[in-house]
């Protein structure tokens, strides 16, 4: 039986940062990025991504002008365009890279757990902690999905359904093993997903009420377990 994963431990064992994300991006797109030195490229990509998320989450990606982005990132317009070919491509890059990172961490942290109850809890904790560390990315991703080009839009929807399916599969497994009572697990999974998303979509609200991520996690686990307990 594994102990509860707490937030501090999560941060220590899981390597997630803007820098990692940008390094992955650089290594995976060497051809299309005109800058060749890794140190320089990663440093600037971090500045660009940070600035883009910060401005976009304030006023929306399409309302962000590249002049603004250039000022906030501390790079000239010309320099920006050595990292991406168009504003739309920048949007795609941010979304794609974030999705990859999330999938990797989430799957990684729950694999090998057999007990559905423990696995469910672990998945909830990892999802919440991830969205706590990468809040600006999660918020951005949610809000800007509909502005993506068709192909990327489709992939974003698939990713959303895929993570939801991870939860639904755990729930169904638990039901088969008579650990959870028989309810509509598709709806339960959707509801769970909605509450997980609320954590990063309404961060201002929870911050104002001084709700920590661990308190929210405990509440969520309690709620879902109470609902699923055999009666």
């Amino acid at each position: 039986m594994v102990d509860n994963l707490d937030f501090k431990t999560f941060r220590r064992i899981v390597d997630v940062s803007m820098e990692d994300m940008c390094r992955d991006l650089f290594l995976g797109n060497r051809e299309s990025i005109r800058i060749k030195k890794e140190r320089v490229a990663v440093k600037n990509l971090v500045k660009i991504f940070d600035a883009a998320l910060s401005i976009s989450n304030e006023k929306g990606f399409s309302a962000m002008s590249l002049r603004e982005l250039s000022a906030e990132a501390g790079l000239s317009m010309g320099a920006l365009y050595t990292y991406f070919k168009s504003k739309d491509e920048l949007l795609d890059m941010i979304q794609r890279q974030g999705r990859m990172l999330i999938m990797r961490v989430l799957l990684n942290q729950i694999e090998g757990i057999e007990d559905p109850k423990i696995k469910l809890k672990q998945a909830i904790l990892v999802h919440l902690y991830l969205s706590e560390v990468m809040q600006s990315w999660f918020y951005f991703s949610y809000m800007e999905t509909k502005n993506l080009a068709k192909d990327e839009h489709r992939k974003a929807i698939e990713a959303e359904l895929f993570t939801e399916k991870i939860f639904i599969d755990i729930l169904k497994d638990g039901q088969k093993k008579d650990i959870f009572r028989p309810v509509d697990m598709e709806l339960a999974g959707a509801a769970l997903k909605a509450m997980l998303q609320d954590w990063y979509l309404k961060r201002w609200k929870y911050a104002r009420r001084k709700v920590t991520v661990e308190k929210y996690a405990a509440f969520l686990v309690d709620l879902i377990e109470t609902y699923l307990n055999p009666s």
Copy 2:
């Protein structure tokens, strides 16, 4: 003891439509709207609002050009500007008018109910049914809140907290009367709100899975009642 409000009945007894909303808007802003004939004004406002919601929900309000809006609404650019002074004002108008309508209906439909359990159910049903009828407005409102000017933005946040508080108050009342078990009602209210919002934010998902609003409502009531049942 009241019977469950079903969706069909709701549609019959509650008068909500774009036209009503636009008539209210016209009557409340006679001075600032340059058109004087009610019939003409309301007809065109409906066309403008419908077009604006449809385009914005596809690609975002700030990405919608007024030329596009003018084409979709079937009015010239010049005509558009007799109904609002600027694109930003249009955004404010839509948001403000929708908020008023929702408050009116929601408060109206739950007032006078004493039993917390029945009142909670009624509030959930009314919220879901309202967002079903006005889905495009709810989606728009959620997605575009952050693009509002400072003052309207503040009001939108207040409205969000106000409706949440309606739920939290019912929950706390039930707890005081020992009908619900003692849990953190602020968190329960927030979670409930998140699931209510998911209904209009992820409509495509529920439509694809053929989940009706009444099925979703029943699920939500079951989930929250199970959680709150005294143990």
